[in-house]
């Protein structure tokens, strides 16, 4: 039975210091041909290739990165829609899939909103049935589930009387995305993963939905993992930001820090690539050249070294570990790691001493 109250905080287990979600060593490779002798699959898309991060209770983690860098895959892995090849997901102190937190229980705690508002709604179900589906599955009686669906509709700003009986094709994009949000909330999750949830919307509508998300978060005490490729939106939404590049985390840390003084050259390039808002201060030179490499055959060492201005010989050989540069700010760049051997890296302090 679902919790009758609408207060996720009541379900808190580990206290505020315990991260709500922590992910370590997440790996997912798609396809490829496995040799009969076992070992690494050949030609596989290394969509997610060793990702670690944590989301604290009540915060919003923004995830940015170029297309194909593995943002959605990470989300789907966290959501357990696809099984990771390796890695562990711990939710509020319990490993997902353990006896204490089986999949069914986990899925009431975490929900997801997809990018394509149309494809993520069953065209044959009415809005209220779509929203009520989750609760029904979890044993809420029909009448009650419908009632909750109506409440949720109201909550996401759609008048239940007008919208409850509609089909997805009778709604606008913004309205559909509201339904998707309502559906995700129907199970009263504590963590909501928003995978490009506003990318397909018009700017004027995007703002409405972003506002709605903020309101809901405040009202329901939610935690968000907010995926987007629009740095402005991430800046607006996120408390902390994770930058991904080709299946790996490039940098993760507080959003104001990362978006003001990035430590990873890729983050810097991303920021510099944002179109300027000032006609008198236009971008004069492209911060990066070329397209992101193919994840089937990612560059050796640091995956960014092929496009990095500061690349040096070592970058092609040594994969940089994700290391803290300051509290809660981690960077995977040899330059940020003293003594890494990169010419621009600070020398090791011990050595200096």
């Amino acid at each position: 039975m679902l919790d009758p109250t609408f207060d996720p905080a009541a379900r808190d287990r580990g206290g505020p210091a315990q991260p709500l979600l922590s992910v370590t060593g997440l790996v997912k490779h798609f396809g490829g041909k496995r040799s009969w002798r076992g070992g690494e699959a050949k030609g596989a898309v290394r969509a997610v290739d060793g990702v670690d991060f944590a989301i604290a209770k009540g915060e919003t983690l923004g995830v940015v990165g170029e297309s194909g860098c593995g943002k959605s895959t990470t989300a789907r892995l966290v959501m357990q829609i696809i099984k990771p090849d390796a890695g562990e997901i711990v939710f509020d102190g319990e490993a997902v899939g353990s006896r204490a937190l089986d999949l069914e229980a986990y899925r009431r705690e975490v929900q997801m909103v997809f990018q394509d508002s149309y494809a993520s709604l069953n065209p044959r179900l009415t809005v209220e049935d779509t929203i009520a589906f989750g609760p029904r599955v979890h044993g809420v009686p029909r009448r009650e589930a419908t009632g909750r669906a109506h409440d949720l509709l109201a909550k996401v700003g759609l008048e239940p009387g007008r919208f409850a009986g509609r089909y997805p094709h009778e709604l606008s994009g913004g309205q559909r995305q509201r339904i998707n949000i309502a559906r995700a909330l129907a199970l009263q999750p504590r963590l909501v993963i928003l995978d490009e949830a506003v990318s397909a919307l018009d700017k004027s509508v995007e703002a409405q939905v972003l506002n709605l998300l903020l309101d809901l978060k405040a009202e329901l005490g939610l935690t968000y993992m907010f995926i987007s490729h629009d740095l402005n939106v991430v800046r607006f939404m996120a408390d902390r930001v994770m930058v991904m590049y080709l299946g790996k985390v490039a940098e993760v840390g507080p959003s104001d820090v990362i978006l003001q003084q990035p430590s990873h050259p890729y983050t810097g390039a991303l920021l510099a690539s944002m179109p300027s808002t000032d006609p008198d201060n236009r971008t004069l030179e492209a911060p990066l050249f070329g397209d992101p490499p193919n994840p089937i055959d990612p560059p050796s060492g640091c995956r960014f070294h092929t496009r990095c201005r500061h690349t040096s010989a070592i970058c092609a050989n040594v994969p940089p570990p994700l290391a803290a540069v300051r509290p809660s700010h981690e960077v995977a760049c040899l330059m940020a790691q003293p003594g890494s051997g990169h010419p621009l890296a600070a020398p090791l302090r011990e050595n200096a001493a």
Binding site: S67, S204, A207, S273, P275, P279, D280, A286, L288, D291
Partner: protein, 345 residues
């Protein structure tokens, strides 16, 4: 950056000039007025950004300029003159020479705009051969030249690629090369960077700007991203529901938007929310249904400052500043904004 143009209508002989352009789609159950009276002028070497949300008629306007709309289902009204010629009056042969020769187009999805079963180089050569009547060999030579010009790495081998063998950014470069192949005077770019990643988008924008200057092209650049428009445009025209509601010098439109819709657009951007956690200013409601446009100003139903007069008739273009005009009755002398009025009271 310099962009000296300072009047809403460029001086001299305009290269592109539309007057009261309308497009109606009659194929469906109810007729759709996708473009409802667009006046647009564009001089040589000038880049106009056509800004607007999805469905506001930007693409249709571009297609109308090239007469690409399906003739059986779309009726085009008003006049279009490009390079001194009436586009509607072009004969079959002239039209073919006009397309690609005088006006070229860049599409949003370069992956879809190339024929998937022809080599990219051949598709460029094909256009050159058609327009200049040269041999295949010289067509390919031109393609190679252009590939190098748009900075496609190892251009010679890339000519033999099929579209699917190229990355998104490279395809868009190839698309630009194709558009420039026959040295057009006008370039129409329909959201050429929307499908691209931020790091690639900026490269393409810079490339376009560079080529525009080098070839002295007149460009109409369609986008829904104000940032992108700001980055490239000399002038900006904001479209809403098939109409240009505000146009003028880029700087003016961005800095002092005169139309409530333009203002709404600008302030609903996340980068305008200076403090995190504050709410964004939004435009309520959703874009209008083109089959049943309200009389008068189409934005009135969503406009916080709407008043009865708004639905009386389509507002005329009124100068908001020296270099920019908008279609909003608030600009009429003597009309006061409701917010101002309450403030005053």
């Amino acid at each position: 950056m310099s962009s000296p143009s300072s009047s809403p209508v460029p001086t001299g002989q305009p290269l592109v000039e539309t007057k009261d352009l309308t497009v109606d789609f009659t194929g469906g159950a109810r007729p759709v007025r996708a473009v409802a009276g667009v006046d647009l002028t564009l001089g040589a070497g000038e880049l106009v950004a056509l800004l607007g949300e999805s469905g506001s008629g930007k693409s249709v306007t571009l297609r109308a300029l090239m007469r690409l709309l399906p003739e059986r289902r779309a009726t085009t009204g008003g006049s279009i003159r490009v390079d001194g010629r009436d586009v509607a009056a072009l004969g079959r042969k002239e039209l073919a020479r006009f397309r690609g020769g005088t006006v070229a187009m860049i599409f949003q999805e370069p992956g879809l705009a190339f024929d998937p079963v022809y080599r990219v180089g051949d598709q460029i050569a094909e256009a050159v051969m058609r327009h200049e009547g040269v041999s295949r060999r010289s067509g390919r030579a031109r393609a190679l030249e252009l590939f190098e010009r748009v900075r496609i790495p190892s251009a010679a081998t890339r000519l033999d690629n099929y579209p699917h063998e190229m990355s998104g950014g490279m395809r868009q470069r190839a698309m630009i090369a194709l558009a420039l192949a026959c040295r057009p005077k006008v370039l129409l770019a329909d959201e050429p960077t929307t499908a691209l990643d931020a790091t690639v988008q900026i490269q393409i924008l810079l490339l376009l700007r560079e080529l525009q200057r080098e070839f002295g092209l007149a460009v109409i650049f369609v986008t829904h991203d104000i940032g992108v428009a700001t980055e490239v445009a000399d002038r900006i025209a904001v479209m809403y529901a098939g109409r240009i509601v505000e146009r003028g010098d880029c700087r003016d439109v961005i800095r002092a938007p005169a139309h409530p819709y333009t203002r709404g657009l600008l302030f609903s951007r996340a980068d305008h929310a200076f403090t995190k956690g504050t709410r964004l200013r939004t435009i309520p409601g959703s874009p209008p249904d083109l089959t049943a446009l309200p009389p008068g100003c189409a934005f009135a139903p969503r406009c916080a400052e709407a008043m009865p007069a708004c639905s009386a008739g389509v507002p005329e273009e009124i100068a908001a500043s020296e270099t920019h005009v908008a279609r909003c009755i608030l600009l009429r002398p003597g009309v006061q904004s409701r917010t101002d009025a309450t403030a005053a009271a």
